[in-house]
Amino acid sequence: MSTTITKEKKTSTTRKKAVATATKRKKATNPIDLLETKFVAALNTLDQAKPFAKSLYQTDVFQLANELACMENGITILDKYAHLFDNAGVFLGGDWEDPTKLQPPFVGNSLRLRGIYSIIEMLSEMRMLAIAKGTYKHAQITKEEANAFLNEVVALNLDLLSNKLPEDSSFLEEHIVRAQYLFNFLVQELSFKEVAEQMIKEIDRLTVQRPIITRRIVELIELSEQLLNSTLDQETFDALEKYCRAIDTPTPLSKNFSNAREYRLKLEEATEQELIAEAKLFAQSMIDTGLVSPYHVVLLRFLNRKDSEIIPVALGLAEAGISSFNDHKKLIHDIIQIAIYPQTKQAVYGLSNMLNRGVLKIDSLVPAFGQLFELPIHAEVQKQLSAFATDQSGISMNGLLIAGVVSVLGQPLGIGQGQNPTCQSARAISLWAQFEPNLLMAYIASAARDYNIEMTFEGEPIHSNLLTEGIAGDIQQDLDTISILLVPHLDKIYNAMIKRTLLRGEDGHKWVNREFYGEWIPSGFMNAIDQLTLKVKNYSAFVKLFYATHHPMYNEGSKLIYPNPVGIFLTNIHGELLGLHAVSIQRIENDQHGDCRVYFYNPNNDSTQNWGQGIKVSVAGFGELEGESSLPFHEFVARMYAYHYNPYEQGDTYMVEERLVKNVEELAKDSWGKTYIWE
């Protein structure tokens, strides 16, 4: 390896000599050549150092790499030597040492850090590129894998791919300049088509889960618009364009009049046929992507005044939805009038789903909606929601709340916890939106009007406005309006309930879940961890009982009626324990291949995670419904630590084969189980 460096160095000197004879003065003043020589020398010194002493020489390489990467064409020079980085020990002893452990989603953050980490990250991409180009052969990473890695990195960070190179870089921070040079170099080396395909994959992955909050998706689509100008094949172009138009102008008419006023004026002149055509296209785009165009709102508000018969078409309603629409015309008219505005446009999708779900059949829900229209809103709540109502669109606080309710009832599995440690609260809202909309409406009304929610725990009332502490400190505002309204209260109440069970020597969820979520949660409860010793106890019984109560082959055919709120160990790609998490099992059924899968709701809304040991959560392709994640039964069991069960609907545990238990136990022991003592 050191010989290679020397050789490289030699060639570069001979080249320089040739240049020198031609333009003597230029060579003397060309700082990039001097830097290259210094960089090669530093890399060579590092290469010759023994492994234990590498860290003494890495800094010099990082420093010079940084200088180079901040110059135009500097990345090209780094690229010349990138195949030597690993053997020289550039990454030895740090987080970047083993490229098989690197993950594309983390690259963007590292590159955006100031200082040394972003330099190492940049060099790591150069190494990956060398693998992708075949100049460096890595034992565990193929060219194709390296290529896919880089495509994903570029796709996830398209904002770093500025169309022009940073000419006036004085206002940009060094690490951003460097990252932009890197990305401009990477796309020259990679193909735009693959980057675009990766981007589509990423957008597909996020949209298929149909989250209520679509900010991240919209950002990605807006970023990828620039790719439409590059050379793509028709299929890729169409897929990308579908998304770009979905958030903007998915119909011919809206495309021609790209502002709301002109479009509205044009609608006045349109024929019935034209209106229906528009309505169909909007509905189709929305159903395909889960994304709503602002012009869709203009059309809907127009139809609400002039031609309400076309509304079911514009909402893409199915039979059940149409009948629900016909039964509640007045309510729907009012909802659109008060709550559907351009900035609440995603609620159109919620409305469509809510009607299709037939939620309004529940008797008391219509009056509950009626109450919300006139509800006086508490000053604190007005403050909380003010971020949503800053523009001059004229939407009222009540309108915002109603739009929020519509989204939650229409997309109960699209509720997310954002960046907050409030999975319990998000899960609660999701469960109520599915099975107890009345209760949810009562909490919403109480929180909005009184800034208080009351629940009882074992007969004693708990008022959220009398509590100061929740589990989360500050609640981040990256949530839907209903979550912003309810989560602070729910978080405190949940915390208060858990506190009351702390001394019981058993997992408090056994009691809290039934009181907090609802009485319909089965009273049987099992935790793999002994709460007194914090050791894993009787794990095989834990697994067997879950099979006997939940697996269709062992539970005598009992079906899950309500979702089961369970606790899981969240693990990273290496199977290492990250923490505890709350999800709910929605259903357990066989997929199209006849394999039994657990379909569950994960409030983190980024559910396609790799949990290590080949356990990859899927969100599509195995019959998942909107917002559902799924895993093969045994893989899910291997990550679970607590569940509820109904003792009256239980098969016989002795019918569960030992080999199944052993399989699960091995997966558990070799991942999160390493953090625990096993009895």
Binding site: K38, K50, F52, A53, S55, F62, R114, G115
Partner: protein, 406 residues
């Protein structure tokens, strides 16, 4: 290496530079260091004895037993805190208790100053302080003695811990209120009168009580910048300096290893003794020696610590002082002059200067700058190398004023 060296050397203290240097000498060695380095050492096949040096020296027999198992014949101190441990280990190895007692002299700035004074070296006025009142009294008495009345500029004094390396905890007291900044836990401290003149350090490599190589490091600004070898202005005093160091070696009875004393020289050539250490100097001085002379001072130290090293080996190892240097190697240690760092500002003229070798400054990931304690904790450093010592001095002075962190 010579067959005589087929015996294990123990490095006391974890230093990758020292480990790398001894590794290249092809002689058996073991590193004694804090337990947190154990897994790294094991991974890299470095023989390692985990040891905490902040435990009472009474536990040294335990360490001795461990080293005996490795067939250790000499120990080499790397850090200030390991000097008395090396003294104790070598006492046990050579069955000579005085080695330990002598090492203690080099660990207590009050004791070493007395000893130097007794040996006839010129020293400033000094005393030990156990509380803030002691410092105030000393400060006042010095100024009384110099007949400084209130209106005039008061004569500053210096205080430093007895047993810390280099500039750690060193403070200059210019007025009484400076005393208030000292924390109670910093006591006891050594107080000294301020000495005017050019400050410099020496790195003397001693074998069998004789100086085998004497480097003089010129300080441009204490704790900020220095270079090796010194300029002719300072080197002109080399004979006198050497004589004083010989006196020091004799009176402290230093037989093997390196000493790193600091002095002041007045324009008239009067040399004042500051302090002396028995370990690897800070301020990148070893790097400078290596860059200027082309030999590894770490290896030099190991050779000098080993009584079995022959005269011929030493002769062959050390080059001729000053004349054999390929140039002057210097560096500037950089401290942010701002509270939060948002940008690095390394001027192109600096990077284009032929003397510029490298710098190791990065924008810190956390923008908040750690508070500076005494003369300590620098953020980065810039290395220079060139032929002309006065150009070197000029560069170091000039860029010392520059704001590298914005």
């Amino acid at each position: 290496m010579n067959v005589n060296h087929n015996q294990t050397t123990a490095l006391l203290g974890w230093s990758l530079q020292a480990i790398e240097a001894i590794d290249k000498m092809n002689r058996p060695f073991v590193v004694v260091g804090p337990p947190e380095f154990e897994s790294f050492a094991e991974k890299n096949g470095i023989l390692f004895v985990p040891w905490q040096f902040n435990v009472p020296i009474e536990q040294s027999f335990e360490l001795y037993e461990k080293l005996k198992a490795f067939n250790v014949k000499i120990t080499v101190p790397i850090y200030e805190e390991t000097v008395e441990w090396a003294g104790m280990m070598n006492s046990l190895i050579f069955e000579n208790p005085k080695i330990y007692n002598k090492s203690l002299l080099l660990r207590d700035k009050g004791l070493m100053k007395r000893r130097a004074h007794l040996a006839g070296l010129r020293v400033g006025v000094f005393e030990e302080a156990y509380n803030k009142d002691d410092i105030a009294r000393f400060f006042n008495r010095i100024n009384q003695a110099l007949v400084k009345i209130d209106d005039e500029q008061l004569e500053p004094i210096h205080v430093k811990p007895f047993d810390k390396a280099g500039t750690v905890g060193h403070r200059m007291i210019k007025e009484l209120k400076d005393i208030e900044e000292i924390e109670d836990e910093e006591f006891p401290l050594l107080m000294e009168s301020h000495l005017e003149g050019q400050e410099f350090s020496c790195e003397a490599f001693i074998h069998n009580g004789k100086i085998k190589f004497l480097n003089i490091t010129e300080y441009v600004k204490l704790g900020h910048s220095n270079f090796v070898p010194a300029s002719p202005t300072l080197e002109q005093w080399r004979p006198q300096i050497k004589e004083i160091i010989e006196k020091l070696v004799d009176s402290f009875d230093v037989k093997y290893g390196i000493i790193h004393p600091e002095f002041f020289v007045t324009p008239e050539g009067e040399i004042y003794f500051g302090e002396v250490a028995n370990r690897i100097p800070g301020g990148h001085i070893f790097e400078h020696i290596e860059r200027a002379y082309g030999f590894s001072p770490y290896q030099g130290q190991i050779l000098c610590c080993d009584p079995t090293t022959t005269e011929e080996e030493l002769e062959a190892f050390f080059p001729e002082e000053v004349v054999s240097a390929k140039g002057h190697s210097g560096n500037l240690m950089v401290y942010p002059k701002v509270k939060t760092v948002s940008k690095l500002n390394v001027p192109t003229e600096l990077k284009d200067h032929p003397y510029f070798v490298k710098h190791n400054m990065f924008i810190p990931t956390s923008s908040k700058v750690a508070e500076r304690v005494g003369f300590g904790n620098h953020y980065g450093s810039i290395t220079f190398f060139g032929k002309d010592p006065y150009e070197m001095r000029k560069l170091l002075e000039e860029y010392e004023k520059h704001n590298f962190y914005l």
